[in-house]
């Protein structure tokens, strides 16, 4: 008797329907530059399932998530694939009601987010458990256009029991394997180092799952530290991690990963992340903190200005380069 997890699959699993969707995406090289406000308004609907790139506190699409909160997007699903500061933000905005969880509510060595925990301990969020590899391979399956991938993780554990994976028998060797279903998000939000106006993206440092997330998602919004020319992309084609046809919107947002780390550019603002954790201890304090840092800000730049502006960024750049 092959076992299966009791968790729910929150996303589309019909690979032919998805092929048809991708067939009809606009594959012309057109100028996709827009604003954060417009992109979130146009591409994210209440109820959508979203995926965020980066690694929780590293190369995260912070500017896009802030705008998601400001526009009050609700009832989203999201992939908690090492979701640390991004999970903290989405929890603060009360933006979601379901989650594929491999790593949520924590900020690694910094501690746990009290507010995110409150949400997940309320019993009001539908959660399906996964491991990091399982979620990575779920994105990869979608990127490959297959309904599942076989793997050898999670077997025998409660993580499997509360997942939506299924045990299968290898048709060649008879070995017991875990099948993880493809994950096709409605919208992906990714922050990169450089992109041209068509959406060809370069990333320095770790890629995490962003190549596969971009290929797996119906719509992809990219913020970039810098918009570069198409010539620069063509001069180093091996550096293109995400090709233009995956991308729907491109926005230049310098320091767009703040307070997260941007490899090679600036280090994480640990002081500000500590303020976040502190503010979450008291719901009233958190409300004030969010008003100051998100809801009263007209854009992401105002948020950075309120937290030290150019001087702070200069400091974080020095830290990044171990100076």
């Amino acid at each position: 008797m092959m076992k299966k997890g009791s968790g729910e699959i929150f996303t589309e699993l019909n690979v032919d329907k998805m092929r048809d969707f991708f067939r009809h995406k606009n594959k012309r090289m057109v100028d996709k530059k827009t604003t954060v406000k417009e992109a979130i308004k146009k591409y994210v609907n209440d109820g959508d399932y979203i995926a965020t790139g980066g690694f929780g506190g590293v190369r995260i699409p912070a500017a896009l998530i802030h705008e998601l909160l400001r526009q009050g997007k609700k009832e989203l699903g999201f992939a908690g694939h090492v979701s640390t500061h991004d999970c903290q933000l989405l929890s603060a905005g009360d933006c979601f009601n379901r989650c594929d969880a491999s790593y949520i509510v924590g900020l690694e060595a910094r501690g746990l987010s009290k507010n995110a925990r409150r949400k997940f301990e309320s019993g009001n969020i539908k959660v399906t458990e996964w491991s990091n590899a399982a979620l990575s391979w779920r994105f990869k399956a979608a990127a490959m256009g297959v309904p599942y991938l076989p793997c050898r993780t999670m077997l025998g554990t409660d993580t499997f029991k509360y997942s939506a994976g299924k045990e299968i028998e290898c048709p060649f060797t008879g070995k017991k394997l875990l099948a993880v279903p493809a994950l096709y998000p409605d919208v992906a939000m990714i922050h990169v180092h450089r992109a041209d106006m068509y959406g060809n993206c370069q990333i320095d440092g770790i890629i995490v799952a962003d190549d596969d997330i971009a290929k797996a998602s119906k719509k992809v919004i990219v913020t970039t530290e810098k918009i570069i020319s198409n010539d620069e992309i063509r001069n180093a084609p091996n550096k293109t991690i995400i090709p233009f046809w995956c991308i729907d919107a491109v926005i230049e947002v310098p320091f767009g990963s703040y307070p997260g780390n941007m490899p090679g550019e600036y280090y994480s603002d640990e002081g500000h992340l500590a303020e976040w954790l502190e503010a979450e201890k008291d719901p009233e304090a958190l409300k004030k903190f969010l008003d100051k840092n998100i809801y009263s800000c007209k854009d992401f730049n105002e948020y950075i200005e309120k937290n030290g502006g150019a001087e702070k960024i200069k400091k974080l750049k020095k830290l990044e380069h171990l100076q």
Partner: protein, 257 residues
Amino acid sequence: MDKKYNNMELMITIAARNLEDGAMVLVGTGVPCAAAMLAQKTKSPNLTIMFEAGGVAPLLQTMPISVGDSRTTYKALKATTMAEIMEFCQAGVVDYCFLGGAQIDKYGNLNSTVIGDYYKPKTRFPGSGGANDLASLCWRTMVVTPQNKNRFVNKVDFVTTPGYLNGGNSRTEAGLPENTGPYKVITDIGVYGYHNETKEMMLLSLHPGKTLDDVKNNTEFTILIPDKYETTSEPTDEELKILREKVDPNKIIIGRE
């Protein structure tokens, strides 16, 4: 008691001694990272360090805060995807991984998901992260953790990460790769391994000054005590000097006591 080292320094040193030259190890932040750095700077210069977020073989200068931050790729040999790191583990090239957790049982199963009922948890923790994958796919799992009755429990509330599951052959029968599993548990009291057949936790060595009563009084289940066990050899002056001056000069990890 006036000791020349603290518990953190002791645990890091023991962990480092378990990483032989030429091995590959997947580490997290904190103690595991410090242990791998210490091993590299002492007897194992050819130890390859990897991080699950995508960093491969960095020349670590300072302690990373995140397993994905730019410290994990400082002068690294490769910066890649999480899928590729997990594929290295699944393919069988990674010898060791280091894990922690809120609870551990006698078979080395770990809980980092919930305390209490799953659907209405008393406490929600982050979940597996990469822990389940590393413990499933790397050859040997090492756990470094303080030892007390709240952590060393009869039954973990949730098996986030596989140890030997129900003991005996149950791990292989579940479909996990052959000959993998928990290897050592390093605590502030002693070092433990696992019984060859039953796969129950078993004492290997007691730290200087610790007693069998300390083991018993800080564990809910019964740890097997063999006829012969060792006394853990203390950190040497050389190890302590390198740990304090080269690995963690800002006392980020070793100052936690």
